[in-house]
Symmetry: C2
Subunit: 406 residues, 2 copies
């Protein structure tokens, strides 16, 4: 006899499957393939030199501290730097309202651990971020989607979805993943009102907010909440990350919440991994301080803005008539939609033959009772590929679409 | 109206409370306090210079890779190094059976996510590691303890506990935390037999195995399993960590399991934090390779072995009659027991007044139906305090015990 492992696994493993993006990322090992699939930053922009200097400095000056156990909440100067940046964005928080997490993926998972019981409903945008869907599916919840249009999530759809009694609302206000849309100021204000009216908190996930290439910055939902309620983070939990503005390999993100809420995040994180690597936190702090992070973000914005323009331009030239797409004001992604009745899943296979990759849109639709994902969309990333690859990749993708249309 | 946060939290937060150790660690900010409370390595042994060189090398040679997203499974050369070390210990595994985790705390939490449904029972040693109890309590499980004696967990107690139908058995075979005991070879063999007989897998947690100061190394339970079953990891999931042999601040641990099991760990980790910091993994690999880790472990063993002896010697001199303790062959902790009827919780307050800290033993007892924790024991760490502090700290603690006895 032996262990019958299948009967040992928890129920929640039934729904666990490897992300299609993850499988796709494996495909991108082929050096000839041009990938618009992942959400990877441009590696040539990583401030490697600065990391070298910072890691030397941290280890020379605080070696023992950087290698020892440290508090779950995170490295205090790093939390202060984040609080300062949030204050600048109109969210009045102090450093002790911030918990450092292992990327914002952990912040999403902790959100599940703190809030979600099996059978709870999560209100989220339709489509929404795959990592959040994956993290919360493990908590055995239901999802209720509210459609997005070119101004972000539709308020009528949110009002409708609130009638299902969701535990929380998950919103990506800026350059949404995957839709690329930005929520208007008016809708942000309405969401705060709805949160107040229904008592349903907003999880504001803002990984791309700093990466705007055109138009005026809009205040985060948490800033509007603070303005209209006097007190900060009354209805909102704010998630941020260094993955897109510094380096994702570090796995550094954060949660900002009211102390009575953050307390549970801290305890949940303590059970999950005690704390995030203190060496990494100290080095990231050392790199970011003295205005470097702002200068670096400026550089990223220039490069990504250019790549976005290149991609939009190439799509005009190479995509057949009937294909439409969003022109995001920032972020990493745009969302293209093929004519009704087409399916980007077989297109994906065709595209791989042409040596170009994207993510079929259907994967970004959370499972919902009685609703099927739209199948004629796709997400395209424009931050990772080099300019000449963008041109060539879109040309290949246009060819693949044409082959499918015939 | 506003968000009523209390009614938003998940049921599992009811049981969440901050670890007493964590609160204690906050106390240890007082520079005059001598702490035997935490499980901290000696910071003066951290190979800071080697980390400086390694981080330079990694960033210079592979900067882009070290800062970019990377596979959930971990950095392949690092996994290979771990597999090689496990093979040396008699556990035949390949690198693809190893998942890098953010400390072994994450491996414990992932074990909960993969295996534990609410209401499941976990068989564990009594007392056992607090971090495991904390991580699994969040999965809303029951605990069934099997007492340890000076030879490790009692087999009769395990047999008895197996009758409760536990989902898994959690065993710390070497220099157990908190008991300091080492499981005999015969009992290890019996555990494998019992796992086979009852179909209940063993989670073997081995953070201290390499830190032996006297006696002969015993094969890991996973090695015995491999030997007796032909195939590796048939009944055992093995957890390891770099926290005690290199540096805990890095948060680097691992899980080794059969591919069909590891698959779920990988998917669960993907939802939790995508991957562990790749920079940290690459630097730790660079530091560890070419035999450095073995030489470094040798150095740790010398220093900690000496501190253990110092502490044992001081206890003989300063502890009043009637106090007994374990003389662990390795690891970081010893376990002292006061006469029946005494309580180490009020003693703790007395000790703080004398400016010495320990962890009261009752915190290491998982909540169990109809059973109360023993209250007359305490855990003492001997790795972190310097030799002169050990002498002075035990003197203070002896005084505190005497005051309580009167």
């Amino acid at each position: 006899m032996s262990v019958n492992w299948r009967y040992r696994f928890a129920f929640r493993t039934d729904g666990m499957k490897s992300s299609i993006i993850r499988e796709l990322l494996k495909l991108t090992q082929d050096p000839d393939l041009i990938s618009f699939a992942g959400g990877l930053p441009a590696p040539e922009l990583f401030p490697v030199k600065e990391f070298e200097e910072a890691s030397q400095k941290v280890l020379k000056e605080h070696g023992s501290k950087a290698l020892q156990y440290s508090p779950t909440e995170g490295y205090m100067p790093f939390r202060e730097l984040i609080a300062e940046r949030m204050n600048r964005d109109g969210i009045p928080v102090s450093a002790d309202q911030i918990l450092i997490t292992s990327g914002s993926q952990q912040a999403l998972d902790l959100t599940g651990e703190v809030f979600l019981d099996p059978g709870d409903t999560v209100l989220l945008e339709r489509p929404s971020y795959l990592g959040a869907i994956q993290a919360w599916a493990a908590y055995q919840v239901r999802f209720k989607g509210a459609e997005i249009d070119h101004e972000g999530v539709r308020i009528e759809a949110v009002e409708d979805a609130l009638m299902t009694g969701p535990k929380l609302m998950y919103i990506l206000p800026n350059f949404q993943n995957p839709g690329g849309t930005t929520l208007t100021l008016e809708r942000r204000e309405r969401l705060v009102e709805l949160s107040e009216q229904f008592g349903v908190p907003i999880i504001e996930d803002d990984p791309y907010g700093a990466l705007r290439y055109e138009g005026e910055s809009l205040p985060p939902i948490a800033a509007i909440d603070a303005r209209s309620n006097g007190e900060s983070l009354e209805h909102v939990i704010y998630l941020g990350t260094f993955s897109k503005i510094l380096a994702p390999g570090l796995r550094l993100g954060w949660v900002a919440a009211k102390p009575e809420v953050l307390r549970y995040y801290i305890q949940a994180k303590q059970g999950q991994d005690l704390h995030t690597s203190i060496l990494t936190q100290m080095v990231a702090y050392e790199v970011s301080r003295n205005g470097f992070l702002d200068r670096h973000i400026q550089r990223i914005r220039e490069v990504y803005g250019e790549r976005r323009n290149l991609m939009l331009d190439a799509m005009k030239r190479y995509f057949p008539e009937g294909v439409t797409w969003t022109a995001p004001q920032g972020g990493l992604f745009l969302w293209a939609t093929l004519p009704d009745g087409m399916d980007t899943e077989p297109l994906f296979k065709q595209a791989i033959q042409e040596k170009v990759a994207f993510v079929p849109g259907y994967v970004f639709y959370a499972p919902e009772i009685g609703r099927e994902p739209l199948r004629n969309s796709m997400r395209l990333n424009f931050s990772n590929a080099r300019p000449e690859q963008i041109e060539e990749g879109i040309r290949r993708l246009g060819r693949a679409i044409e082959k499918m249309t015939r």
